[in-house]
């Protein structure tokens, strides 16, 4: 037990420094967005000021987490042929360029190159012994469990029988008001728990100051100490980080502040019979596994190939520790993927089409669009483009009758405008009736689920509604509903929405006609957004029909449903964004303004909004009744081809999903289905360039595709926009998948079968515990088999290298990602140029294939499947 110090008033300066230290300490926790609008984040996002190698080393220490695949998994990749000896040799030399100058060693009478020796060790050397499992059931574990319960009770308004007191004064004060009644806490603290709790200061900063002084923590050690408390519950720390950094200012729900979180955990620690080692997590080099014994590694080489030179071999292998070994394997794996992709993209490009296409379709850059686009392009004279799925219009969207407006844009952007959906004819009595019924049934829906999720209310609910809910549940289990293939736009109705035709609605984009003071956009703003859409993707000619196609994923009984929706729309379906952008682009005043900016959209071109349901592979076209008669024939033909493309894409996806292939489109409707689709699993590259670069290739849904034509962007503004926003968001997604795959328990959300929603914001695994962050195991794994290759994102850009270089150098966040090797960048100026790699130290070097550089080798790589390890 610690010495008790007297409570002293905290000076203003000390308070300021303490608040700053909590902020710095908490920055290690990646923000956790509530699941209602899931946002993929880099779990190590707080460490991107460090290079990837240093950040992963720090994460291994702080989180006790794995940051790479185990050695055995990489070796399995080698056995599969997705990492070759040549890839390994290249990665070894990148890791230690001095090996080139080392003399070969005589091993067993064979002169072995040092690179070969290291490769042998990587392929066959002893594997590090896993550390014994961490001791559980400790006092600290018990306090963590109590802590997570109080966090949930504080933020959870709907599911607690009574709210915590003084919540408006923050988590620490609210907890302090009731902690004396917590019997579990009293059992851990021991004698006179209530009395000792009563001695704690009322102010969280004063509490932290008291505990830090009691533990005699120096100024230099304070951030590490605070971080230790904060990271005892990394999930809730992530939510606190979101509350502090990202939560909308006008959010009504309780804010869990990092200062309060640290104070509560520090208070528990302070009163516990044994305290945490505050420096236990502070060693960034602390290994997650015991190092493989160097002697054993040397013995293994000598026993395999004989010979002597023991000292030289030990010196060589001693320079490459276990962390280096997996880092080299990761680099080799990435070289292989890069070679295969670039070999493919070095081939002939699609011939330019001069005739006016029947239709142009702009899809989201999401990797799931690639397969669908390829299927559709094969069916007719269609041109497709890739653009972030919010279509460049960052707004809050207020659906018809909704009291709430939600941001429909990437979280990097703070929307300044609101767009409301209104009934086209508000005087229509059917519209008023619809809204009224909608409100009533939505209330019923909310009441049902609130009662279902409560603590005592489910018993009453079972009594009162069981006669209805029971048979419905049995029916849904025994005969999961099928997806309606009706794409007329009327089939997508939640059960709680009223029957009958919904009123015709439209987004009000014009601020003059706006429904409230801050609703709508000025003509200047609308014209600017329209210009950005057209110029960013390099659109020069326009078809009679141009479809802006957002995407969403209709799934049921899935707390992570929004993770399958559009990330560029803030974790929401993209249909609303498409409708808003279409309303802007069909506006005659906007089009007139575009002419002044050098963009002429033909009078016979009509923009149409649509949404791709990626679970069912259905594309629904919105607002059909507003489409001019002249465009309807083309649109009917297009709808037919969209249906066919969906069917073919679903069949393709079925090859990688378990279960009945014929029911692949129904998976989202099946409430027992833990894997309605693969989402963005497999993502590996972000390709910025014209579609002609990729149109000839099946990229297996592994690439974000952002359209870009360098010739139409002479000042580089569009490329800077792409590289500083969509590319950054894709890097978050890539990292989320990477770390959820290599460490599903700590950086992923664990087993979905055991999830229980908590607080309306997240899930816990089992009955209690920390918030489970990241992606569920079922999103990246199929049993023991990986559905995702954990690789760092590869950005492939077709643009002048000096333009790309300038953008990297003048954007510090992007520069950190590139030079810290969080992403790799390859580029070429045009179809006729060779690819170059951006080096971490600055500058570019030519890309060439590993090992054999003959054209036959390139061809064989170009035809190699780009699939992930999953093959069913």
């Amino acid at each position: 037990m610690t010495t008790q110090l007297a409570l002293t008033a905290l000076s203003a300066s000390d308070r300021g420094r303490l608040v700053a230290d909590v902020s710095t300490a908490g920055s290690i926790a990646a923000p956790y967005w509530p699941l209602t609008a899931f946002v993929a984040v880099n779990p190590l996002g707080g460490l991107t000021n460090l290079a990837f190698a240093d950040a992963t080393a720090a994460a291994r220490g702080w989180f006790g987490a794995r940051t790479h695949l185990p050695l055995e998994a990489y070796r399995a990749e080698h056995a599969r042929g997705t990492v070759t000896d040549a890839d390994l040799d290249r990665a070894i030399l990148r890791h230690d360029p001095s090996l080139v100058d080392r003399q070969p060693l005589d091993v067993g009478g064979i002169r072995m190159d040092p690179v070969e020796l290291v490769r042998w060790d990587l392929l066959h050397g002893p594997v590090a012994e896993p550390l014994p499992p961490r001791q559980t059931g400790t006092v600290a574990d018990a306090l963590d469990e109590i802590m997570t319960g109080w966090c949930a009770a504080f933020v959870d308004e709907a599911h607690t029988p009574w709210p915590m007191p003084d919540r408006a004064r923050g988590f620490y004060r609210s907890w302090l008001a009731v902690a004396g009644s917590d019997r579990r806490l009293a059992a851990v603290i021991g004698r006179d728990a209530r009395g000792r709790l009563a001695t704690l200061p009322d102010d969280p900063a004063e509490l932290l100051d008291l505990v830090l002084r009691t533990r005699d923590i120096s100024d230099d050690g304070r951030i590490a100490a605070l971080r230790t408390w904060i990271l005892r519950t990394p999930g809730w720390a992530g939510f606190a980080r979101w509350c502090d950094q990202w939560a909308p200012e006008d959010r009504d729900a309780m804010r869990l502040r990092m200062l309060d979180l640290a104070a509560v955990r520090a208070a528990m620690d302070h009163l516990a019979p044994e305290q945490l080692d505050l420096y236990g997590c502070a060693d960034p080099a602390a290994p997650a596994s015991a190092p493989a014994d160097l002697e054993r590694r040397v013995d293994a080489v000598i026993s395999a190939v004989g010979g002597d030179h023991r000292e030289a071999i030990a010196e060589l292998l001693g320079s490459i520790d276990d962390d280096d070994r997996v880092a080299i394997w990761l680099a080799a794996h990435e070289w292989n993927f890069r070679d295969r992709l670039l070999a493919r993209l070095t081939g002939p490009v699609a011939a330019p089409v001069t005739a006016r296409p029947d239709a142009q379709l702009v899809f989201c850059i999401d990797v799931r669009s690639e397969g669908f686009r390829r299927q559709l392009e094969a069916l007719g004279a269609y041109e497709t483009y890739g653009f972030a799925g919010f279509f460049g219009v960052p707004v809050r969207w207020r659906p018809l009758g909704s009291p709430v407006a939600q941001a429909r844009c990437p979280v990097l952007v703070s929307p300044r405008h609101e767009i409301a959906e209104v009934a086209v004819d508000p005087s229509d009595s059917e519209a008023a009736g619809y809204l009224s019924t909608c409100s009533a049934t939505a209330g019923l829906h909310d009441a049902f689920y609130a009662a279902k999720g409560g603590i005592a209310s489910p018993f009453a609910l079972a009594e009162s509604a069981g006669w209805f809910a029971g048979p419905v549940a049995a029916a849904r289990t025994l005969a999961p509903p099928r997806t309606s293939l009706d794409t007329s736009g009327t089939a997508k109705r939640p059960w709680w929405k009223p029957f009958g035709a919904a009123p015709r609605t439209a987004p009000v984009v014009d601020e003059v006609a706006g429904v409230s003071q801050h609703s709508g956009l000025s003509l200047e703003e609308r014209t600017l957004f329209a210009e950005a859409i057209v110029t960013t993707i390099g659109m020069a000619e326009f078809a009679p029909v141009v479809v802006l196609c957002g995407h969403g994923s209709e799934t049921t009984n899935n707390p992570h449903a929004s993770s399958l929706d559009c990330g560029a729309c803030g974790g929401a379906p993209g249909g609303a964004s498409a409708r808003i952008a279409v309303a802007i682009l069909n506006d005659v005043e906007v089009r007139a303004g575009l002419v002044d900016r050098g963009i002429t959209i033909p009078a016979d071109t009509w923009f149409v909004a649509a949404e791709h349901d990626t679970a069912a592979d259905l594309v629904t076209i919105f607002d059909r009744d507003t489409i001019p008669v002249a465009a309807r024939t083309a649109l009917d033909a297009l709808q037919h081809d969209l249906d066919v493309a969906g069917e073919r894409n679903a069949l393709d996806r079925a090859q990688r999903l378990p279960g009945n292939a014929s029911r692949v489109r129904d998976r989202g409707r099946d409430w027992a289905q833990v894997r309605p689709e693969w989402g963005l699993a497999g993502n590996g590259a972000f390709i910025i360039g014209p579609r002609s670069m990729t149109a000839e290739h099946d990229l297996r849904g592994r690439s974000f595709l952002h359209s870009y034509v360098a010739e139409r962007d002479p000042d580089g503004v569009a490329l800077e926009t792409i590289m500083t926003a969509p590319l950054v968001v894709a890097q978050w997604i890539s990292s989320q998948y990477y770390f959820s795959t290599v460490e599903p328990e700590i950086f992923g959300a664990g087993d979905k079968m055991l999830h229980n929603p908590v607080g309306g914001i997240g899930v816990v695994v089992g009955q209690s515990g920390d918030l489970a962050v990241g992606l569920p195991m079922q999103s990246v794994m199929l049993g023991e088999q990986r559905a995702h290759d954990p690789l760092r994102l590869l950005a492939v850009v077709q643009a002048p290298l000096d333009r790309i270089e300038g953008i990297i150098l003048r954007n510090s966040g992007l520069r950190q990602l590139v030079e810290g090797e969080w992403i790799h960048v390859v580029a070429r100026a045009s179809d006729n140029d060779a690819w170059s790699l951006r080096t971490p130290s600055g500058g570019w070097e030519p890309w060439h294939l590993a090992g054999d550089s003959t054209s036959d080798h390139r061809l064989s790589l170009a035809t190699t499947d780009l699939s992930t390890p999953l093959s069913i």
Binding site: G16, A20, S23, L412, V413, V728
Partner: protein
Amino acid sequence: MTTWTDLPAMAKIEVVVDGDDVPAVRDLFLEAGSTGYTALTGLSGFGHGGHHHGRLLFNDRASLSMLITVVPIDRAEGLIAGIRRLLENSSGVFFVSEVHVSRPDYFT
């Protein structure tokens, strides 16, 4: 005749930080009892970190921001200590100056 020096003196604190650090500075302002602040986002210019190009079209977090607050001089000490400590671990600069205000009740 009243001159500007007759107006009550206060401390003006201007902080230039990365967009990601704005919430931390805002928290320090509020913790120090600041009654309000002004935020200028998307700053451009040239400095220790090279050129800064100002606002990006779809990323409000990547550019520099300046937060400005005015507090009574006796409240400035804690705020200055907090910002100095914060900037030991992240990039940014801050300036403190004495200003005279016409409506001191706005800032207390």
